[in-house]
Symmetry: C2
Subunit: 138 residues, 2 copies
């Protein structure tokens, strides 16, 4: 099982404050002989009609010297997990969770904007000190 | 500029034997303030009518102890480069280049098969001793 991201607990608290029930920590995906571990999975009752929304969350701290390298690793995990999740648990939506500061460093720049415009990934940002979610990008 | 993959030269020779003219080694993509470097770019005249096919090639050796980690890193680079390439040089098709042995380790297993079935990436395999391309997967 991989080591927890340093912002794991503050991100988890932010989700709980936002009304999510954390159902898995971590969330284990078995695929063939391989085990994949996504950091968290959670559920939230949206409305009685719409039912329960299910998410999986991969938390990334973006603290290495190379933002591009951090982005590549985060993106690779996201795409792999998303494809496996679509097969095993297709109702669950995968989000990348990053701090506000990481969002500004990567996704406010052209290289990150291209990924958001092309809807390559879904993400939310959180403030680790206040332990709150600050935006959702679908 | 990143270090060359250990199979860079044998992959390049395999492409040349397959009739490709290597136009860039490496191929530099500028996006905003960031520089990305894809390992190779090449061109080949298909037929007089169809004109020239243009490719970019990212070579990955898959030699770390974790195949999943290698796959995540390769996939992250591929998706990032592909999205930037679509913006800057949309006629050029990106391929991941891996050895036959790496293909068997990853893409013959369920986790890799899902990626191929979902057409997440295009790749070719090569034999580094014989310096030949052994298959194209589009």
């Amino acid at each position: 099982m991989p080591a927890k991201d340093i912002y794991h607990d503050s991100c988890k608290q932010a989700l709980i404050k936002d009304g999510w029930h954390i159902s898995h920590d971590p969330y284990n995906l078995k695929i063939g002989k391989k085990d994949l571990f996504i950091d968290l999975a959670g559920e939230k009752l949206i409305t009685a009609e719409k039912g329960t929304q299910k998410i999986a969350v991969e938390i990334k701290s973006f603290v290495s010297p190379s933002e591009i390298r951090d982005l590549e690793v985060a993106l690779g995990q996201y795409i792999l997990y998303q494809n496996v999740l679509n097969r095993i648990d297709p109702e669950r939506i995968l989000y990348l969770a990053i701090r506000d500061a990481s969002f500004l460093k990567i996704f406010d720049q052209e290289v990150g904007q291209i990924l958001l415009e092309n809807q390559v990934l879904k993400l939310f940002t959180f403030n680790p000190s206040l332990e709150i979610i600050t935006r959702w990008i679908d």
